[in-house]
């Protein structure tokens, strides 16, 4: 298996996917259920995600060369692994669709007065198809260039209104008890579960000593970053958060500095456009990777064309109505299936871990590497011993 992603690239891709659905409609959606406690919902959810990620990283540490497909095949067989990939394919396909619709809505509300549907979807479909013909490594390199530029700019756009915010708005905590928090968590489940991406990256990460530390530090930074955003959101809009469906733009408009008032939203708009379009490409590529595990087609273009056509047709159906999209995303059957996927996949991985351990399964490549390392160590100690003996000998002479 060819290693493709460095720890830094993996962490950055995960960071971007985590923030993808959380800075626009989602804060308003979550405010509907939990109001002032929105940031607690996000914090708890992200904390859970990070814990799951830690477990996944431990698994990768143990079997650094095994892909998720190989893990499933070794434990449950080929058929079961294909079923899991079909489920993941549908899951990421819908997530891509949701992002496309959210982006379209964002453009209509924030950037364009008029935006023809064709003008939006046709270039996007071409872009998605192009991205899907590329390797995940290429996208990882792209985010390496954009990452700090995006993070700093997004940071500026929600730090600028700090002068205007009233931190007292976030209190009292648990105003309506704990129930609204769980309620909000239940209805917003679809915006989380990004650890599934890490599972799909299994076997593709160059695993080093510092990998776990590096990825976890990025994730903790992500947790702090998003939580601060939600605190600012609640502190700024109080109970009216539900009306701000373009959260990041609406926040940046309220800059505390008189000369930058109603001007900084352009920074947010530009940055968030880059972020959204990148994320659409990224999710589409992940969807295509799942498709590749289900049906193997040598030609890169064919699966890319199939998936972009599916996305095109579905986005045509959803185009007319953002409410319809959100309705689907927050409908009970959908939430339950998303929840099942998000919980079941890590559980399956846990079972695989136990089974592989019981089988005393060894990652061959890893074993080879360890053997080579051991041999090298032995050689080194032998050489050291030789040197020591010659030195001693020299002293005697």
């Amino acid at each position: 298996m060819k290693k493709m992603l460095t720890s830094r690239q993996t962490a950055m891709l995960l960071f971007m996917s985590i923030i993808s659905l959380k800075f626009l409609v989602f804060p308003a959606l979550i405010s509907k259920y939990s109001q002032k406690d929105s940031y607690i919902v996000v914090f708890l959810f992200l904390l859970f995600e990070i814990m799951v990620m830690f477990f996944i990283l431990m698994f990768i540490k143990k079997y650094p060369n095994l892909t998720f497909k190989e893990v499933l095949s070794n434990t449950f067989g080929e058929v079961f692994s294909k079923i899991i990939y079909i489920v993941l394919f549908i899951y990421f396909l819908f997530k891509t669709l949701l992002l496309i619709k959210e982006t379209h809505n964002y453009f209509l509300e924030a950037i364009f007065d008029e935006l023809s549907w064709w003008f939006f979807i046709l270039p996007l479909t071409i872009f998605i198809t192009y991205v899907m013909t590329k390797n995940i490594k290429i996208l990882a390199r792209t985010i390496e260039i954009l990452f700090w530029f995006l993070v700093v700019s997004v940071g500026i756009s929600f730090v600028a209104p700090l002068y205007n915010i009233d931190l007292l708005n976030i209190f009292p905590v648990f105003e309506n008890g704990v129930y609204p928090i769980f309620n909000a968590m239940f209805y917003s489940v679809f915006s989380f579960g990004d650890y599934l991406l890490l599972i799909l990256f299994m076997g593709k990460i160059k695993f080093e000593k510092s990998t776990v530390k590096k990825i976890m530090s990025y994730m903790i930074f992500c947790l702090i970053f998003i939580t601060i955003f939600y605190i600012v959101f609640v502190a700024l809009f109080n109970n009216s958060g539900i009306n701000h469906i373009l959260a990041i733009s609406d926040i940046s408009v309220r800059s505390g500095y008189p000369y930058s008032q109603e001007k900084l939203d352009w920074l947010a708009i530009l940055i968030w456009t880059i972020a959204l379009l990148f994320q659409i490409g990224f999710y589409a590529l992940v969807t295509k990777n799942c498709f590749d595990e289900i049906i193997k087609i040598k030609n890169k273009m064919i699966p890319a064309l199939i998936i972009s056509s599916v996305l095109f047709v579905f986005s045509m159906i959803l185009y007319l109505n953002l409410e319809l999209t959100l309705k689907i995303a927050t409908s009970i059957p959908f939430i339950i299936s998303a929840l099942v996927i998000q919980i079941a996949i890590p559980l399956i991985l846990l079972i695989c871990f136990i089974v592989l351990k019981c089988k005393k399964f060894e990652d061959k490549n890893n074993a080879n590497n360890e053997m080579i390392l051991e041999n090298k160590n032995i050689e080194r100690t032998n050489q050291k011993n030789k040197k020591n003996t010659t030195k001693k000998g020299g002293a005697r002479v």
């Binding site: 453009f107 950037i111 935006l115 003008f119 390496e144 880059i274 990148f278």
Partner: protein, 514 residues
Amino acid sequence: MQKISKELNKNKTLIENIFKDNPNFIAKELTIFGKSACIYFMEGLIDATYLADYVLKPCLKYKDENFDALNKEINKSNKKATKNNLSNLKTQINKSSKSSNIIDYILKNILIIGKLEVNDDLDALVKEVTKGKGIMFVDTCSKYIILDLEKVQQRAITEPPTSAVAKGPRAGFVENIKTNISCIRKILATNNLKIETTNVGKYSNTMIAVMYIEGIADKKIVNAIMEKIKKINIDGIIDSYYVASFLEEHKYSIFREVGQSEKPDIVSAKMLEGRVTILVDGSPIALTLPFMLFEDLQSSNDYYSENSHSSFVRILRFLSILITIALPGVYIAIQLHHYKAFPLKFLVTIINTTQDLPLTPFLEMLLVLILFEILYEASLRMPKYMGIAMSIVGALILGDTAVKAGLVSPPSVMIVAVSGITLYTVPDQSEQISILRFVFTVVGGILGIYGMVLFGLYLLIYLNDFDSYGVSYLSPYAPYYEEDTKDGIFQRDLLMMRKRPKSLHNKNKTRIRR
């Protein structure tokens, strides 16, 4: 491979037949050791004084000498000398003078010019003569002597116009490959500097030299380059650009994949990092490989001035690229699709200046951009004395009068002017950037900011898919190499750059030892 004959007359007929319609092809006949001989050369390509002083005059001394008698005499003196233990040195000298045939004797005792070679191949003879060498035939000898009589006609080593510096070395390459090699050798005085040469071009027979430092450069890259160069099958190589086209891996890309430089100091510095240099005879531009996009942000001036200033200038260059590419497109996108982004008063000003124009804002911008490119192209081709008149026509008539006549708006002219100035902060990338500027303007006009961002992302992904001989095109930022970023957009102190760039697959990683 056709070999020459032992008979001089046969050879004469053969060679004179090959060069029959070349009036500057000269045959100088002479006698040496009582035998007929002939020297062939191209008039104008050789140094006539050199030929007279170092070839003809020494040969004339042996005009009527008997070669066999002379050889016997040498043999005798050798035997005597070996008996005398005190004259070891003399023995060695005389031993070397003992020759079995005339050619050998001429080489060792008569001709005292620098480089002499012996060959018997007719094809090689033709190549050597056309390159400015002299060829000497002696009757009854089955080989000929190649005389290095080449007259080096070259301009002086001056500062190249495209990479002028305020501080640092000012020497630039010239058209002569030997001079260029010696320029590099002067800086890198080491036997580890290796040069592999080959000749390419059916009619031009151009010499190409591949230079690298053994122990630093990756031999695999050197071999890959040599292999590609040897595979070139073309009628003629006029400039190094011809070779660069063969070395590029993406044929339809607008982006350069081979580094270019006119300065020996830059090329030497690149070789010290592990790169390979390609010199082409007749071209003052050296090619370097592998190439990364960020190399064009660096200037030789950066290394001879304060780091803080160099970093500042590099940031300015980077911003300039962004401004050049995006400014006209952003202006059009905002004017057509996102006019709410303009402050109200500014919007009113723009509306006032554009409402009576005969063209739409999009077409107006394209027109001004095209006019700018035409002006640039004309100023390049125009004789120098017309330059001032050209700038008056460009600035006053096309700029000021067109605005007054109501053909174009002042903001458009100003935006194109700004992007025109920023275009030349990175002159090596100006060709690519000016194409991208057009594309971004068109995309911005049709799809607004959305289209520009989409195309920008496409471009980034496309560039990330680029590899130049195994090195990522956007290195050291994608993939990220912390050590290499010390000479990236921000330039650190030389003492901090202890390691050679990781992104280049060089062998010896350490450049400064504690």
